[in-house]
């Protein structure tokens, strides 16, 4: 009952005013941080006002009639049933109101469709079930990363208390500078996904084989959290989009750190790794990429995802397993489903994950270790 009264009261408050309630907003759009999001917010507020007025007027008439024109209070029925004048009036007047509603929206449509002259262009690629960000043009050009949910499984399954940003936290945030026009190119690798950040008023489907675009200019530094909004299979609910908006200086520093990291990664891929190093890194890579289907236990799911513990592929030659990971494969249980190709992962991550599966859960494959150089050679 507490919930109910709170929601009804809150609803009334939300409908009657454009005041933004506590953060994150519960009854209304999240507080806007771009001009488009603010325009949308205002459009919605004015729509709600118009609707409220019409609602009260129309149903005021209805409830008055229900109150007064009842048989039980002795009201006798009139027999009128036609009036061309009235019909014309209630066709024309709503039409004018409706066009009045749509007209201010026209400018906003043109605004959000205008993706010209960006300061930074980033390609967002939807994968089942993570996002990939490639910085195409502007400061940070060349940076490339995958962004995967970091909420641990035990929180999802209720074995641990849920964190503050439950389901809306990732390993690598899409990082952008404040006040700059960022153009997002969306595409997808497998099925349709949709890129959405509520605070930015940005939503654009990511369609495999096609590139679409959208844009935002964040006005405030901070971390903004959204998620994929187009049903994209099993883990549709588990592929958040987290954007980190930094000041110009901090952004420049971030770009520099990414560049060093990528040089480091290149060195990593070139050198020989020990088994312990590979196992440690592989466990992480497995947990963030493979465990969604093959399960943390390596047991897979009956009739859906093959077990890796005791798997013939894992026990077989390393090159076959690497090729399978790079290229994906047709479903074992369902001819139409498939394991998606994982070629967007780095050589090091693939080598580590493969090594991990070859030695975990009682597997003892020969060779036990796969080096990043072997993955590079297999591409």
């Amino acid at each position: 009952m507490k919930y109910l009264s709170r929601s009804l009261f809150g609803g009334a408050v939300a409908l009657m005013s454009s005041v933004v309630l506590a953060e994150p907003a519960k009854y209304l759009f999240q507080p806007p941080v771009t001009s488009v999001a603010r325009d949308i917010f205002d459009l919605h507020t004015s729509m709600m006002w118009i609707i409220t007025v019409i609602f009260v007027a129309v149903f005021g008439v209805m409830f008055y009639s229900i109150w007064k024109h009842r048989k039980s209070v002795g009201h006798k029925a009139a027999q009128f049933h036609e009036s061309t004048t009235v019909e014309i009036a209630w066709t024309i007047v709503p039409m004018i109101i409706l066009i009045g509603m749509a007209f201010p929206a026209t400018r906003v449509v043109l605004e959000y469709k205008d993706t010209s002259n960006p300061d930074l262009t980033v390609k967002a690629t939807g994968y089942q079930w993570k996002w990939g960000y490639d910085y195409i043009k502007g400061e940070g050009e060349g940076i490339s990363m995958l962004s995967t949910l970091t909420t641990p499984l035990d929180q999802i399954e209720g074995d641990a208390p849920k964190g503050e940003n439950y389901l809306r936290e990732v390993d690598n945030m899409l990082t952008v500078p404040v006040g700059k026009k960022v153009r997002i190119l969306t595409t997808a690798d497998d099925v349709i996904h949709s890129f959405w950040v509520p605070e930015f008023g940005v939503k654009q489907d990511a369609i495999p084989g096609f590139v679409r675009d959208t844009w935002f200019r964040a006005e405030k530094e901070g971390i903004y959290r959204g998620q994929c909004v187009e049903l994209c299979g099993k883990n549709h609910g588990f592929m958040p989009i987290v954007v980190n908006v930094l000041s110009a200086d901090k952004y420049t520093a971030w770009v520099a750190s990414q560049k060093t990291a990528s040089v480091g990664a290149a060195d990593d891929a070139a050198r020989e790794w020990t088994k312990e190093e590979l196992m440690a890194r592989g466990e992480k890579a497995y947990a963030s990429v493979c465990a969604a289907c093959h399960q943390p236990t390596g047991q897979g799911l009956a009739n859906a995802f093959p077990a890796l513990a005791g798997s013939k592929v894992v026990a077989g030659p390393a090159i076959d397993q690497i090729k399978l990971v790079l290229g994906g494969r047709k479903g074992v249980f369902m001819p139409n489903s498939q394991m998606p190709a994982q070629s967007m992962l780095s050589d090091t991550d693939i080598a580590a994950a493969v090594t991990y599966t070859r030695n975990a859960w009682g597997n003892h494959a020969d060779p036990a270790i796969v080096q990043p150089s072997a993955v590079k050679a297999a591409r």
Binding site: K26, M62, D190, V229, C232, G237, M334
Partner: protein, 537 residues
């Protein structure tokens, strides 16, 4: 001109009464009666029971969804099974419950409202119905094949559908069969209405329910083949190497959405126009006053049907259309609110200065008017493209279409059932049970779906098995409401069964203010009616 037919039924009834009900003797009995029947009343009854069964089945799936969403975290189902629940709930409710329910009404009512002895193609009518159970069976079986039922959403968007197991193929076959049934049913209804009206019943004297079904039938004939095309292309993409919707082979996944919604938007009106028809009978009857603006109702219904063909891409505002496309579909969509508004105003004008009573059918009709209009308003909010940018694919949309499909179509179906049940069974239903059913449905419906507006605005996507913790409160409220709503429907079942078994004897007129040919027949309506057509003045 009066909209309801002031009919003189000089002789037809006595004639029908002479026959008695099942007194012919050469009719098969038991199961064979129902398998072989060509009687529109039997077939209507079967349609209604079938759709109610599917309604319960779809309802159980919905409760599975709401149980999982009761609190954050994964409690009951794997995400894959959760997706099967949302998908099959949608398919079963749309194609198994709502559409066949309206066809059931059409079967029962169209002949007795236009003074015809039966439907035009009685054998095809039998076949239209008996296609449904096998289709339903395919849908049920699909849960038990490897990979389970299809989990691509009821809209079956490509290319996700190519990843599904054999459950997807079963759903495609089921939809083909249901589509064939709908097309046959529609042809039957069109031919019956155009050719078999009683002498004197001109088009502009037809009851509103007949009008709305005539227009709906045309919509069905126009768009069911489009759906069949879309899912057939999906099928060949899956198995025969075509690439209609596969970009890697030169196809376009968005093309699927265009084709699907070219079917899907008129489909929305297929599910609501007959509801408008029902309400247009109930409100005048209980206001004891003729329907206001009969001809404007006819024109409004036709305009809605025509406009429904040019608004489909408002379901696709975020696929990335050019600005000109967005603007066209936005303006076309808001225009639909004009004829819809006209209908609402006409119903209000019908109530105005009437002499109203509020038996269960009227309660559901007024409930429909009130809550459906709220769904209309949120539809308007969704139509404004920039706002839709924020609420597309969120719970706001889920709230919106449940306001129009549950409070709209379903409430109208309940209203119609209580209204005509005495005519069908010969007994009055239990008024207290009916009223309890109404109030519980109305209250629980709003507890379930009103909070979803807030969830959507605040950013909760639809079709997710688990959600961020800030959405927890409203999800819990919605889940409680859903279970209340679900169990309230058992009152309806009990009320209908009780009414079939007995109860106060219904008169021919049943309702003081009811008008139309069906009320000239005795209650229950005889097995064969209007073998000699009545004269309509």
């Amino acid at each position: 001109m009066s909209q309801t037919t002031a009919a003189t039924v000089a002789h037809a009834n006595d004639h029908a009464l002479d026959h008695g009900d099942h007194a012919h003797g050469h009719h098969p009995t038991g199961l064979m009666r129902w398998l072989t029947t060509t009687n529109h009343k039997d077939i209507g009854t079967m349609y209604l029971w079938f759709s109610f069964t599917m309604f319960l089945m779809g309802g159980v799936l919905a409760l599975g969804i709401r149980a999982e969403l009761f609190k954050p975290g994964l409690q009951l189902w794997h995400p894959e099974f959760f997706n099967q629940l949302t998908t099959m709930h949608g398919i079963i409710m749309v194609f198994g419950a709502i559409m066949p329910a309206f066809v059931g009404f059409a079967n029962w009512l169209v002949p007795i409202q236009i003074g015809a002895p039966d439907m035009a193609f009685a054998r095809m009518n039998n076949w239209s119905f008996w296609l449904l159970p096998p289709a339903a069976l395919l849908l049920v079986i699909s849960f038990f094949v490897p990979g389970g039922a299809t989990a691509g959403g009821w809209t079956l968007y490509a290319p996700l559908t190519s990843q599904m197991g054999p459950g997807m193929d079963l759903a495609i076959f089921a939809l083909h069969i249901l589509g064939a049934s709908s097309i046959m049913g529609s042809i039957n209804i069109v031919v019956t209405i155009l050719n078999m009206r009683a002498p004197g019943m001109t088009m502009m004297k037809m009851p509103m329910f007949v009008w709305t079904w005539l227009i709906t039938a045309y919509l069905l004939i126009a768009v069911m083949p489009v759906l069949a095309g879309a899912i057939t292309m999906t099928l060949t993409d899956r198995h025969f190497g075509t690439s209609f919707f596969n970009a890697a082979g030169g196809g376009d996944p968005v093309m699927y959405q265009h084709v699907f919604w070219f079917f899907g938007h008129p489909e929305v009106y297929i599910m609501i126009l007959p509801a408008f028809g029902i309400v247009s009978h109930v409100i005048p009857a209980f206001a004891r006053k003729p329907l206001f603006g009969y001809s404007s109702m006819v024109y409004a219904t036709s305009s809605i049907a025509i406009l429904s063909f040019i608004v489909w891409a408002h379901h696709m505002f975020v696929v990335g259309m050019p600005a000109a496309g967005v603007l066209f579909f936005m303006y076309a969509t808001v225009l639909i609110a004009v004829p819809t508004g006209v209908k609402v105003f006409n119903w209000l004008a019908t109530m105005w200065r009437g002499s109203m009573t509020f038996e269960t059918p009227m309660l559901f009709a007024v409930g429909f008017l009130f809550v459906f209009t709220m769904g209309g308003f949120t539809g308007l909010v969704c139509a404004i493209a920039p706002i839709d940018l924020q609420i597309q694919d969120t719970y706001y949309v889920v709230a919106h279409f449940h306001y129009v499909l549950v409070a709209g179509s379903l409430f109208a179906l309940f209203s119609g059932t209580y209204f005509w049940l005495p005519k069908w069974t010969g007994h009055m239903y239990n008024e207290a049970m009916g009223k309890t059913h109404f109030w519980l449905s109305l209250i629980f419906f709003n507890i379930t779906f009103f909070p979803m507006h807030f969830l959507g605005l605040a950013g909760m996507p639809r079709r997710i098995p688990d959600y961020a913790t800030q959405f927890a409160d409203f999800n819990m409220i919605a889940s409680i409401g859903a279970f209340g709503f679900g169990f309230s429907q058992l009152i309806f079942l009990a009320g209908v069964v009780k009414c079939i078994r007995g109860g106060e004897k219904a008169t021919a007129q049943v309702w003081e203010g009811a008008e139309g040919l069906e009320w000239t027949l005795p209650s229950p309506a005889p097995y064969h009616s209007f073998e000699v057509p009545p004269q309509v003045k």
